[in-house]
């Protein structure tokens, strides 16, 4: 287990799990799963741009996720097209653009799978630095904004009427989401990133009495899924990202089924 690539994979996964836990809770509470999905899939455009311009992929992905996140905020104010339709439209347009651009950039033999489902075993020391720097920043902002964010999750108008800077907090939140999504894409790919955010939080919900407990349990589930997923992946030679998500799916079932059986709805 002391192989350097495995250690880097484990460190990257655990670091991401800790940041993804509180962020994932807010994504669940704010019902932004599809928002996150659209931003993550837009990351593929960032990969295509990065390959075409031969720049750092993490940087180009981050630039695109931030831009798309802001664009979505602006588009959410129009009412001619419902927001969920808009998100679906953007996610799949991004997927199409990303796949076409990537194939043009490197030819059809490009390993698209690594971008769609992540390549956790290819995490480099530089990737790791990105993840821990960005992760620390994201976690710091989330802790700083915890109270107003929670207040606006519970009731946005109430928070606004009591003087919370609701619009500013929402804006910072979507930027943090874009930052974490950009980091997660390297590890679990554009298609599984949102799963890595919401599944630990969803599994934590039935066990939690307070919002902080839910974030803590989500961090534990996320870390557990990284460790178990990597173990599965190495033992059975399965792909890393999907193995982690598979463990998360079982953790979610293990948490939700007893709650449903107990009649907790």
């Amino acid at each position: 287990m002391a192989e350097p690539f495995l250690m880097r994979a484990l460190l990257a996964g655990l670091g991401l799990a800790v940041v993804a836990a509180p962020l994932g809770c807010f994504v669940v509470w704010r019902r932004m799963a599809y928002y996150g999905e659209a931003v993550a899939q837009a990351g593929l455009i960032g990969i295509a741009v990065g390959l075409a311009l031969s720049v750092n992929l993490t940087a180009s992905v981050l630039a695109v996720t931030l831009t798309v996140s802001l664009l979505l905020v602006a588009l959410s104010r129009q009412q001619l097209v419902p927001f969920d339709a808009l998100l679906g439209l953007l996610a799949h347009a991004a997927l199409a653009i990303g796949v076409i651009a990537a194939s043009l950039a490197r030819g059809p033999q490009l390993d698209l799978m690594a971008f769609l489902f992540g390549d956790i075993f290819a995490v480099s020391a530089s990737d790791l630095r990105w993840i821990y720097l960005g992760g620390t920043l994201a976690l710091g902002v989330l802790i700083y904004l915890w109270r107003p964010l929670l207040a606006l999750c519970v009731h946005e108008d109430l928070a606004a009427a009591e003087g919370a800077p609701v619009e500013r907090v929402k804006l910072v939140f979507v930027l943090v989401l874009a930052l974490v999504v950009a980091m997660a894409i390297k590890i679990v790919g554009v298609l599984l990133t949102i799963a890595f955010l919401i599944m630990p939080a969803a599994a934590a919900r039935p066990l939690s009495e307070t919002p902080e407990q839910m974030a803590l349990f989500a961090a534990i589930f996320g870390s557990l899924s990284v460790a178990l997923g990597l173990f599965l992946s190495v033992s059975f030679d399965t792909p890393g990202g999907p193995s982690i998500v598979l463990v998360l799916a079982f953790l979610f079932l293990a948490a939700i089924v007893p709650a449903v059986v107990r009649g907790q709805r």
Partner: protein, 298 residues
């Protein structure tokens, strides 16, 4: 006698030891006509908690507020009534700064702490939250203050319960308790009795009246019911996109007709605002000017 008649104005209530500013009552005339009048360019009332002047608001081509003036004075209970779709909630949202009017001004006393009970409070079960946490959500609250607010609404036993486990009536009390925390200068209650049975409704109004007397905050209360306003109401504004009329509510005891309608027991806790309409509204709610004989709307 129409509310807002000279006699009604003379019977100006005083409460909690301080006289109401004359300004707040100066405009309590029963408007002879109901169409939105050109703005008289009255300056906002300097001593009001909230003061809106000539507020116009249109959404999706539909005029929702037309030239609305409203003041809420310190310590008064102002009830806003009107039919569904009259723009009551929109006016409240404009006053709270949640919505920007197309035209007009809204002034709010600097440093005013607002306690807000929104019209619909849907509990999100995805967020695990105890009542105690909900009370202090988004701000720093002394335990003592939170405990007192919960005790005031008779919900002190609920502190450790999950918000999602509460009944409709319990939730309503808890949301009210949250609004009471932090020494608010004004409570804004948007149909707080929604979803509560009639006894509960009468109790809730009596509670709000009692708390106002004890703490001296102003109250803006919204009701869609043209007949039932709380006995503690100092002033009533009838809104149907524009201010139809405003004045002092009359005691239910003088209205055998309403007492009969609502039952003698509840009638003791509630006062009714006799709604002498001097005009009729067409089906779209537009006022029609030829003033027919004054009739009590039912």
């Amino acid at each position: 006698m129409a509310a807002g008649s000279p006699q009604g104005l003379l019977a100006r209530p005083t409460l909690a030891g301080h006289a109401l500013p004359a300004e707040a009552y100066g405009r309590d005339q029963h408007h002879p006509h109901c169409e939105p009048e050109p703005s008289p360019a009255v300056a906002p009332a300097a001593d009001a908690l909230f003061s809106a002047r000539s507020v116009w608001l249109t959404r999706a081509g539909r005029a929702i507020l037309q030239n609305v003036d409203i003041d809420i004075a310190e310590g008064e209970i102002l009830t806003l009534i009107g039919p569904n779709g009259a723009g009551k909630t929109t006016l409240v949202r404009v006053l709270l700064g949640l919505e920007k009017p197309d035209r007009g001004t809204v002034a709010r006393r600097p440093g005013l702490v607002v306690g807000y009970v929104p019209q619909r409070f849907a509990v999100d079960r995805a967020i695990p939250l105890t009542v105690a946490r909900f009370i202090e959500l988004g701000r720093r609250v002394e335990d003592e203050d939170a405990g007192r607010a919960l005790a005031d609404v008779g919900a002190d036993k609920l502190a450790d319960r999950q918000l999602s486990e509460l009944s409709g009536g319990e939730l309503q009390r808890v949301v009210l308790a949250r609004a009471l925390v932090g020494s608010p200068g004004v409570l804004v209650l948007d149909e707080p009795a929604r979803g509560i049975d009639f006894t509960g409704e009468a109790e809730l109004y009596a509670l709000i009246g009692r708390l106002r007397s004890e703490r001296g905050f102003g109250v803006l209360l919204v009701s869609h019911d043209l007949h039932v306003v709380m006995a503690q109401s100092d002033r009533v504004i009838c809104l149907n996109r524009h201010v139809c009329c405003s004045g002092v509510p009359r005691s239910v005891a003088q209205h055998p007709e309403y007492a009969r309608l609502f039952g003698a027991q509840a009638a003791r806790a509630l006062a009714l605002y006799q709604h002498h309409h001097d005009h009729r509204h067409d089906l779209a709610g537009e006022p029609q000017t030829p003033a027919g004989p004054a009739s009590d709307q039912t």
